[in-house]
Every structure is written in C-alpha cells, then in structure tokens.
Subunit: 256 residues, 2 copies
DNA sequence: CGAATGCTTGACGGTACTCAAAGATTGTGG
DNA sequence: CCACAATCTTTGAGTACCGTCAAGCATTCG
C-alpha cells in the first residue's frame, strides 16, 4: 500500500466534524492512537478555522490565544527583519502543529501565513498544561512534534548556511516533494506545489532573480518539471546527490 | 540583584553531588521548582560525565543512549555535509538540555562537541516516557526547552539566510554575550568566549577568511573587545542595531 | 482592456569565497 | 630553556557567486 493510494486529504472538513472521523487520521503517515485518546483530543479541540490563500494565520508580533493543527492546505512560518527582509523558516503541511514555540516565549516569535486556502483545527492555548496533566501521552506526542520541527529547522539552517544555490533548490524540491508524498498530496507522481518563486527565494535565503535562474537551470537539465502548481521529480537520485540530502524512512507522526 | 552577582557556576561538580545542591539551580535565570520535583529529577539522573575540550559529546551518526543537561562549560550542536562543510546549529551553555531531537528521529541527526571542558548530568533515554508519565510537569518543562531551542535555531536561520557578514557577527556576539550573562558567566563586563574564528564562521555560514575580516572591522570600530578568550561588548546599542537583534526579557528557564 | 502579479532575461557590481603565505601564540620534547 | 610543530590569526590577491537594477513578457483578474 502506498501513501498516494489514500484518498485526497485536501478537502476542507465538514463543519466541526468530530475527530473520530478525521480525514487525516486514517493515513499511515500518522500514528494510530486508541479511541479514548482521540476523544481527549476532540474535547481539547475548540473549533475549526478557515483561512484564505495568502492571508495571515498567526501575526508575527502577537501571540495567538490558540494553537492549531493544520488540517488541509499549505502554509509557512517566517520571520522578517525590520527593513523587510523575510526568511521562511519552514513549510507546514496537514498534520503539522502550529504555535507551540510562542507558548514559552517572550512575545516576538514568528508569523504563519497560508499559501493555499487552509483549514485548521483550533485549541485553546490556556488548556495546554491541562492536556499534559491529564494525558501525559499527548504531552509526549507534542514534544515529539516539537523535536521533529526543530530537526527540520536544523536542516534548513544547514541549507542556508552551507549549500550553494543549486544545492539549496535541489534540497528544497526533494524535501517538499517527500513531505507531500507522505501525507497523500501526490497524484501520479505530481505533487501539489503552490509556491511562487518569492516563497522559494525566501525559504532558501536567495534573491528572487537568482532563484529564478537556478530553477531554470535545473529544470533545463531535466531534473524536475513544474506545471501549473504541480511538481514532478524527474531525477530524484540526481537531486538527492546534488542537495546532499537523503531522507530516511520516518516513523508515524503523532497527530494532535 | 544582577546575574553576575551570583557565584561562578563554571566549576565541575563534586563527583555525583545531589541535585538538591545543584550549582545552577540557585541562579534566578532558572525556574524554581518544588523540592519533590528536584528529587524526581535526581532519581531520573543516572550520573555525571566529564568531557575534554574539543572532543565529541554526541556522535553525529549514532543516537546516544543518554540525554544530558550541560552543567558547566560550552558546547555546540552541528551538522556536516558529506564533503565536510560544517554548520553549527547552536551553542550550548549550562542548563541546556541535550539530545531530545534524536529521541524521535530516524537516526541521522546532529553532533554535539565540547568547546571547553564540559561536565554533564546524564539521563537514560529509555526512561524519558516514564518521566512524562509520572511527572507531567517535567514533561511540560522539557517541551518548554524544546520550544526555546527551536526559537534559537529559527533566529540562526534568519541570520544565515538574510543577514550580511557584519550583521551576522553583530548578532552572534550579542546573542552569546547575553546568554553568558544570564547564567552568570560574565565578570566585570567580560564574558567567557572560548571560540575560535572557525567556530564563528561555521555558526554564521561564512568562510574563515571573511569571518576574520569582518571581526577585525567591527573590533576596529570599537564595538567590542576580545582578549584571550574573554569578550567585552563596548557598544551594545550599535551591535543590536547593526544585527537588528533585540533581546526581550526572558522568563526563568526550566532546568532538568 | 488596463492593472496587477509573477516569471524571465541581461547587464553590472559587490560581497564573500578560494588560494596563498606570513605572523602570532601555544604546546612539546630534546 | 630553546627549537620546532601545531594551531590559530591576519593579510593580500584574484575570482566567482549571487545580489541589485532594469525591462520585457505572460497570465490572470476585474
């Protein structure tokens, strides 16, 4: 059974449908948990939120009173310097947990913005400790998610700090493709790829112009194809080697 | 009361001294916790480890069976590409918790190396879930630490991706000075600074030569002084503005 | 049809990298 | 105690990668 044999998970949920019928949970990329744990998550969840493409989910300046699980769509975390330079810290896909860093922060952290239309499950930040207290297992899972996200930022830091432009692009394409594949967003070898070149430039620490030239070059070499918001990897091995980026098999991810 | 009124915490501990007498816990930078929680940590702790300057604490290829709290000294986390390029992901000071990311990983994560001589408190990884289970509060604290560390990597990513060389150096000097100050490693305005220029270059994503030239320039402008492993910030405001990096007051940090 | 957004390309310049070699400092062994 | 090695810092020269500026083109939307 392959991940993309699973039904698309990109549709918005029926309004306030229960976690027992979650469209994500059936996906083998996610950890299967006992029913009573799902019910605890359900009782912790405070609602659903829909956000339009290109709009803000979490403001960069203020800590949101909610935590979120991304249910459908693509988003990204970012920081901007005071003169406007923007760095994308990482991309968010279905199943990703949003807002944990702010929990323990001094305020100023990062913003989150929707790339496509996005639906989110919301949780009240004020009840986080209650969750750890009553369900240590879920606390453990949240730590799992925090550690996994830090690992991704680690990788992005290596990219921005030590890879050249072509290596950065190769690494990003493989990374996003693999993650999309994992949550069932790949059809017939084509992954949803809703980013513009400014997103890619901001994620890689490159200028827009140089990102464009590098993308063109790799595309011209036949390493990948990009068509109308869909990505196809033509030469995964070549891109892996170029980016010096080899994904290991991953354990199922907890889903809050 | 200022942090540097506190006694130096840099001495190695008496062998296997109990957590109740921990030389770090008295520092107001750390969260004060009830005695029974300290005793739980004590029972979770499996020992002490001493590591020489410049040697490996955690191998980049293998997951260590222990978790650590850095008790004294300086260390750093890093990743290397297959051709040897190295990126330092972040620096570790007393109180920092080491090894959590590997817990939930696929193997290949990051290495940890001692800059100075280092002493560590060790914990058995296999008992981590037990800790969450029996003491949810400590699980919550561990999540706190994970989130805080991710925030620091986020900052480093912005640095590597979007700041120029002078801005990077300014940001790093201020960051390290502030963190050292917080844990009482500053005396009379001088902070312990055991790094060589290769460390700085690898942390900032710059070459050694360019790092040297940038350091010289900022030093020549009188923004800081570096003398025999000790750092003094002469113009904190100028460095903050240059690096576009302004620290907010921090909450006390949990200490495991 | 005009405006807005995003992609593409060329020209040019500068920041940062590489190569190379000379000081400076520290440690070590004869 | 000095000589020598090893490590780290500093500086110069030349280059290349990548950023900035500018403008043209394509597509979408109102």
């Amino acid at each position: 059974m392959r991940f993309d044999d699973y039904p698309a998970i990109a549709q918005p949920p029926r309004c306030a449908h229960p976690c027992e019928e979650c469209g994500l949970r059936g996906n083998p990329a996610f950890l299967q948990v006992p029913d009573d744990e799902v019910r605890t998550i359900e009782s912790f969840r405070s609602g659903t939120r829909v956000v339009d493409a290109g709009t803000s989910i979490v403001d960069e300046e203020r800590t949101a009173p909610q935590l979120f699980t991304l249910y459908s769509g693509w988003a990204f975390r970012f920081k901007t310097l005071s003169d406007g330079r923007r760095q994308i810290l990482g991309f968010l896909l279905p199943g990703d947990f949003i807002g944990l860093q702010d929990e323990f922060a001094d305020g100023h952290t990062h913003g989150v913005e929707a790339v496509t239309g996005v639906t989110l499950c919301t949780f009240e930040r004020s009840r986080l400790w209650e969750l750890f207290h009553t369900r240590p297992k879920l606390g453990y899972h949240i730590t799992w998610l925090a550690a996994r996200e830090e690992k991704m930022v680690d990788d992005n830091l290596v990219t921005a700090g030590r890879r050249n432009a072509a290596e950065r692009v190769a690494m990003l394409l493989m990374h996003l493709y693999r993650r999309a594949e994992r949550v069932g967003m790949v059809r017939d070898g084509w992954a949803e790829f809703p980013f513009n070149q400014q997103h890619i430039a901001d994620a890689l620490g490159l200028s827009l112009v140089h990102t464009n030239k590098t993308l063109r070059r790799l595309q011209h070499l036949g390493l990948y194809k990009l068509d109308n918001g869909w990505l196809r990897i033509m030469e995964p091995r070549a891109l892996e080697r170029l980016g010096d980026y080899f994904e290991r098999p991953l354990q199922p991810t907890p889903l809050i």
